[in-house]
C-alpha cells in the first residue's frame, strides 16, 4: 500500500497497538463483568463458568487478552512518560520496551497455565 508508507515507523505501530488493544478490552470488559456477575447465583454457577474456561480455545483467548492488557498498559505508560516527563530523544525506544514488557507478561501467563 504505497499510500500508507508514511505510517511505517515504530511510534505509529505503537499507536495502533494501543488503540486496537483498547477497543478489544472495551469489548471484553462487559463480558467479564457479566461472567463475574453470575457469582450472584452462588459459587456453583461461577465454578461451571470456570470449568467452561478450561477449553483450549478459551485458554488461548485468555492468553490473548492478557497480552492485550499488558500491551495496552505498557503502551499507556510509555504515553504518560512522553507527555509528562521532560523530553528525551531515546524515548522512541520506549515503544520497544513496552512491547517487550507486554510479551513478558504474556509469557508469564502462558507458563502459569
Amino acid at each position: 500500500m504505497t499510500m500508507r508508507a508514511y505510517r511505517n515507523h515504530p511510534a505509529w505501530w505503537a499507536f495502533l497497538v494501543h488503540r486496537v488493544s483498547g477497543i478489544a478490552l472495551a469489548l471484553f470488559l462487559p463480558a467479564h463483568f457479566l461472567a463475574l456477575g453470575t457469582a450472584l447465583e452462588g459459587s456453583a454457577r461461577l465454578d461451571r463458568f470456570l470449568a467452561w474456561t478450561e477449553q483450549p480455545m478459551v485458554i488461548a483467548a485468555e492468553w490473548g487478552l492478557v497480552v492485550l492488557l499488558a500491551a495496552h498498559l505498557a503502551g499507556g505508560l510509555r504515553l504518560l512518560a512522553l507527555e509528562f516527563l521532560p523530553w528525551r530523544e531515546w524515548q522512541k525506544t520506549l515503544a520497544a520496551i513496552a512491547a517487550g514488557a507486554a510479551l513478558v507478561a504474556g509469557l508469564a501467563f502462558a507458563l502459569a497455565r
Binding site: 483498547g22 472495551a26 470488559l29 456477575g37 457469582a39 498498559l73 499507556g76 504518560l80
Partner: protein, 113 residues
C-alpha cells in the same frame, strides 16, 4: 465551560484514570497469574475476595476508573474513525460509562457478598 475546556478536562481525566489503572491492572495481573498457577476454583477465589474489605473497595475503584477511561477512549475513536461527533456521540459515551459502571459494580457486589 467552553467546549475547549471540556475537551481539556476529558484529556486530564483520561490520563488520571490511566495512571490509576496502571496500578490496578498491575495488581490484577499479578493476582490472576497467581490464581491460575495455584489452580484456584471459584470458591477459593471468592474466599480471597471476602477475606478483606480492601478487595471490594479495590475492585469498585477499578471499575470506576475503567468505565471512565474506556468511555472517553471509545468516544475519541468514534470521532476519529466513524466521524461521529456532537451531542449524540457524547450521550452514547456517557451511556457506555454508566453501563460499564453498572455491570462492573454488580460484578463487584456478586463476588463480595
Amino acid at each position: 465551560m467552553s467546549e475547549r475546556r471540556v475537551e481539556a478536562w476529558l484529556w486530564v481525566a483520561q490520563r488520571a484514570t490511566a495512571a490509576g489503572l496502571a496500578l490496578f491492572v498491575l495488581v490484577h495481573l499479578v493476582t490472576i497469574i497467581y490464581a491460575v498457577r495455584a489452580g484456584l476454583g471459584a470458591a477459593a477465589i471468592l474466599a480471597r475476595v471476602h477475606s478483606s474489605l480492601a478487595w471490594p473497595v479495590f475492585y469498585a475503584l477499578f471499575v470506576l476508573f475503567a468505565a471512565v477511561h474506556g468511555a472517553i477512549g471509545l468516544r475519541t475513536i468514534a470521532a476519529e474513525w466513524l466521524g461521529w461527533r456532537g451531542n449524540g456521540a457524547n450521550a452514547a459515551a456517557a451511556l457506555i460509562a454508566v453501563a460499564l459502571l453498572a455491570a462492573g459494580w454488580r460484578a463487584v457486589l456478586a463476588v463480595s457478598s
